[in-house]
């Protein structure tokens, strides 16, 4: 372990810390000497995949990052997008996968804590959280333990801080069995003038540590996140930190107050790699240095070494650089909230991160060497071998269902489609009194108090599609997120993403990663939703099994006038149902194949035509703004039939549908063709709506009418559309609701 005093480094110790021999040589070159133990620890953590993005950086360059609304792109604690009137939205998504696999409650809770700090550190008040979660099968007791633990961890932390959890997604697939994914997104609101960044400028300015005391928790969490999970991972339990949401709430209020006071120069969360990353990143951004006396850092435990102080990942701490002469004022503000704020050092002009213990220098490293000079790897990539086998889908051999009602009921009770009420009932999704559209719709909508504006939020990714074809899957993740926002009546503005993949040292995983990013970039460009940042999580892999490539997209949209918001529920008897977009003969990657035919991931995902997507979204958004649309719902997992059922259930009303069977009935009702939105309109607006859709040159089909207590679906013979319709589904809404609403709760009992 840690050597005492002036003992030299144990040969090869850098490998235990996660550095390669070549990286160690580079460290020696930078310093012009051998590093001591503290310095080596600092390099190891800053050059870990988690902190340095050494593998992903060259690929992330594909993302478009600029646009008219973007105030802050990647590189800061969070992205910022303009919403007019001098206001902006600050947002970011981040993973906490590895900690959650080891200790689900604390892993998820501290994930929430970290992302909240990333947002309020920029001066924004957090107004919403969303969670994108992935687990194995709920039949497995361990999955139930992980799922239950993660949900209560999110609930325990978010509810206590008082930021509503308004949305997200949950999927279950075998590939996540040992590697659950916990991606948390936070959204904050800010006035442009209050934006603060993580920079340490102004030579001589005091550097302060504020918030919780430092303990030995989570030492090497960042390196831990950069390794595959193994049997020994459980032994590394100390790497999981414990969160204190009460402390976080105090820190949140105190930080916002101190930022408003004007005393702050720069501020940053001590996230992964704690004091190390916050100090060198802040110095590096400003081109300055930072000098800190570690003996001044308030601590929770006795006898902590400089190494432990620098690498501790104790939660609820911030590093703040304040204007000269204001430290006492800042202390007073924190004291009002019963928090400690201590000056531990100052900004210097020599670009060095210099750490002392009293008078004695214990580490001295050029700050930029830790950030900008971190190694970058162009890792080899090649198409995975599994791909051609899984993409093959002999459709002719798949029998068409005899009982469509049964298939629909099975789909509605599949945990991937069933109501997530069991989850979001445990989240306080109303605190803040901004939640205008609650969880369970395509997108959550929050009002911006004092204006007519609303913000629409969603997260999206279908990992199965990405496994079958990461390029198309990546495009669909972006397109569907945007479509969800459009269904709420919002204009999609910008993206944050959380890229969850396996071990990138394997060429097949690297290929998935590149292709997914390329696909997402293409869609982001096409839909004009630039990427403002996010997070990459590699090594989601156990014993050779990697998770499905899961590039989660978090998206923010703007509703200019909340009077023209839209929800998915069918409203009134007699409203006309129209499907915008078109259904193709596509079954690959569908939930239907899994549920009805036991094919978990087979075929090619649905085609993504970005030109069509754009047209559909524009046409629907404009129709909503013109007040022609009473409900709008994206057609996704489970296809048309499930989308119709969901609109019936949430509206508490039935519908009668007539559809020409011009392709296989199962593809027509359960296929997952993209770029489709189900809208309804009042009968007296039908003509105008149809005229408009025609002018916009988007394909659309009139499906039927809202009404009654059942969902009735009838198929018409394409050769003889005037002939007798074939009734394939006639189900009471109440029965569908029971199955859909109760499925997850039933599995969790």
């Amino acid at each position: 372990m840690e050597p005492r005093n002036n003992e030299g480094l144990k040969p090869g110790i850098w490998r235990e810390m996660g550095l390669t021999d070549a990286e160690f040589e580079k460290v020696k070159n930078i310093l012009g000497r051998e590093p001591n133990y503290v310095e080596l620890g600092i390099f190891a953590v800053m050059w870990s995949e988690h902190c340095s993005y050494k593998t992903s950086r060259p690929v992330l360059k594909f993302f478009p990052t600029r646009g008219e609304h973007i105030l802050q792109g990647p590189g800061e604690n969070a992205g910022i997008v303009d919403i007019g009137d001098g206001q902006a939205v600050v947002f970011k998504i981040e993973s906490h996968n590895h900690p959650s696999a080891i200790e689900p409650y604390q892993g998820a809770a501290t994930g929430v804590g970290g992302i909240l700090r990333d947002v309020f550190t920029m001066g924004a008040r957090p107004i919403a959280l969303l969670d994108s979660l992935r687990f194995g099968s709920l039949q497995n007791p361990r999955t139930r333990y992980l799922f239950g633990g993660v949900v209560s961890g999110i609930s325990g932390y978010g509810n206590c801080v008082g930021v509503p959890t308004v949305g997200g997604e949950v999927y279950f697939a075998p590939s996540y069995e040992e590697n659950p994914l916990v991606n948390v997104m936070c959204v904050g609101l800010i006035d442009h003038k209050d934006i603060k960044k993580g920079t340490a400028s102004g030579i001589g300015n005091p550097v302060m540590v504020v918030g919780a005391r430092t303990g030995r928790d989570g030492i090497h969490g960042a390196t831990f996140a950069s390794e595959e999970l193994s049997e020994e991972s459980a032994e590394k339990r100390p790497a999981v930190q414990v969160g204190d949401p009460f402390m976080e709430k105090l820190l949140l209020e105190a930080c916002l107050e101190v930022i408003k006071s004007g005393y702050v120069v720069g501020i940053q969360d001590m996230g992964a790699a704690g004091l190390t990353s916050s100090s060198c990143e802040m110095a590096s951004r400003a081109g300055t240095g930072i000098e800190m006396d570690l003996s001044l850092v308030p601590r929770r435990e006795e006898g902590m070494t400089p190494y432990e102080l620098m690498l501790s990942e104790s939660q609820e701490r911030m590093l703040v650089v304040v204007k000269k002469g204001t430290a006492e004022k800042v202390k007073e503000i924190f004291a009002r909230w019963d928090l400690e704020a201590v000056v531990v050092g100052r900004v210097t002009g020599d670009g060095m991160l210099r750490l002392t213990e009293g008078e004695q220098v214990v580490a001295e490293i050029p700050a930029q060497a830790l950030t900008d000079e971190a190694p970058v790897y162009e890792r080899p990539y090649s198409e995975p071998e599994y791909l051609s086998a899984v993409q093959e889908l002999p459709v002719a051999k798949i029998p068409q269902p005899v009982d469509y009602e049964r298939v629909l009921m099975d789909l509605l009770s599949s945990p991937n489609i069933a109501s997530k009420e069991w989850v979001y009932r445990q989240y306080d999704h109303m605190v803040g009194t901004n939640t205008v559209v609650r969880p369970g719709s395509d997108a959550a909508v929050l009002r911006v108090k004092g204006t007519k504006k609303g913000i629409a939020l969603t997260t999206d990714c279908n990992g199965r599609y990405c496994y079958l074809d990461p390029y198309t899957g990546g495009m669909i993740a972006v397109a569907e997120a945007a479509r969800n926002l459009v269904c709420a009546g919002a204009k999609p503005l910008a993206v944050t993403n959380c890229l969850n993949f396996g071990n990138p040292e394997k060429p097949a995983v690297m290929w998935q990663f590149r292709r997914a990013v390329e696909g997402m970039s293409e869609a982001c460009r096409s839909l004009n939703t630039p990427v403002t940042g996010g997070n990459v999580s590699f090594y989601n892999e156990t014993r050779e099994t990697a998770v499905y490539p899961t590039p989660t997209v978090g998206m923010v949209g703007l509703i200019e006038d909340l009077d023209y918001r839209c929800t998915q529920d069918f409203k009134d008897e007699g409203d006309i149902i129209i499907m915008v977009g078109e259904t193709r003969m596509e079954l690959g990657g569908s939930e239907y194949l899994r549920v009805a035919h036991g094919l978990e991931a087979k075929g090619r995902p649905p085609k993504m035509d970005l030109e069509l997507e754009k047209k559909v979204q524009q046409a629907v958004l404009e129709s909503i703004k013109r007040g022609l649309v009473k409900s709008a719902h994206d057609c996704s997992e489970g296809g048309l039939a499930v989308a119709l059922a969901e609109s019936c259930i949430s509206g508490g009303i039935g519908a009668e549908i007539y559809s020409v069977e011009n392709i296989r009935g199962d593809a027509l009702l359960f296929g997952e063709s993209q770029s489709r939105i189900i809208i309804t309109t009042a009968e007296n607006n039908v003509a105008e709506l149809i005229r408009y859709l025609t002018v916009m040159e988007v394909p659309f089909t009139r499906l039927g009418t809202v009404g009654g207590r059942e969902l009735k679906i009838n198929l018409l013979d394409p050769g003889c559309a005037a002939g007798r319709p074939r009734a394939v589904i006639n189900l009471p809404v109440s029965e569908m609701e029971k199955r859909w609403r109760g499925a997850i709760e039933c599995l969790m009992k």
Binding site: S152, N159, F246, R425, Q426, T433
Partner: protein, 233 residues
């Protein structure tokens, strides 16, 4: 009429209560810091929801010893209007201004959802604008809302008409199924004997504006103002 919203460390519905008073009544409202030892000049005190002191130890247990609580207790004894919502209700119980105590929800899970309430006592300053027996929809959000008191206390509450709200079905039936947390006698809110102190788990401030999809809670704030106007006349 001047409202005061107490801010404990960890309160997180303080701003929501503040906004509701502004939005519904447009009356003066101010925050009262927990270290303050006076509530002079206020006509109604709101103890908001949240997790005061993290709810570590027991919900409301530590907040009850905040300096401001002495002033609030004295204010209540003088007949001042005090309403505790959610965590505020827990603080009132711990402070002894209302009888009973809160246990973990019987599901052991935090629950955030709409509930239907039956207005059992429409004679209080907080409920006077509702009809007796009226069914209203107000959301809950809590992990410790399982109200408990011993049998004698329960009898007393019933005899004195101190049960103000009961959880019920949308049709107004007080059933076990409509009870979200296991509260004894489906109790969602109680008042003191004098009727000037109300504690309730559901959040009226979360459903006080139309834009939020439900404004049933607005009536509570309007009732308070009406009662105060009657009083000062």
């Amino acid at each position: 009429m001047k409202f005061g919203v107490v801010v404990f460390p960890g309160s997180n519905c303080d701003a929501d209560c503040f906004n509701a008073v502004k939005a519904v009544l447009d009356q003066p409202v101010e925050y009262i810091w927990h270290k303050s030892n006076s509530v002079e000049g206020f006509d109604c005190i709101i103890l908001p929801g949240g997790f005061s002191y993290g709810d570590y130890l027991r919900a409301g247990a530590i907040a009850r010893f905040s300096p401001v609580m002495e002033a609030v207790i004295e204010f209540a004894h003088r007949g001042g209007l005090v309403i505790g919502i959610c965590n505020g209700f827990q603080v009132l119980l711990e402070a002894g201004l209302l009888p009973g105590a809160m246990r973990r929800n019987d599901s052991l899970q935090f629950i955030c959802d709409d509930t239907y309430l039956k207005v059992e006592n429409a004679d209080t300053a907080f409920t006077a604008l509702w009809q007796p027996g009226q069914v209203i929809k107000i959301p809950v959000a809590h992990g410790d809302g399982n109200y408990y008191c011993d049998e004698n206390t329960l009898k007393e509450l019933q005899q004195n008409n101190q049960v103000v709200f009961r959880y019920c079905s949308p049709a107004g039936e007080v059933t076990a199924q409509a009870n979200p947390n296991g509260s004894i006698d489906n109790i969602a809110g109680v008042c003191n004997k004098q009727g000037n102190v109300l504690g309730m788990m559901p959040h009226p401030e979360r459903c006080a504006e139309k834009i939020l999809g439900n404004d049933d809670g607005a009536m509570l704030f309007k009732s308070i103002l009406a009662a105060w106007q009657r009083r000062v006349k």
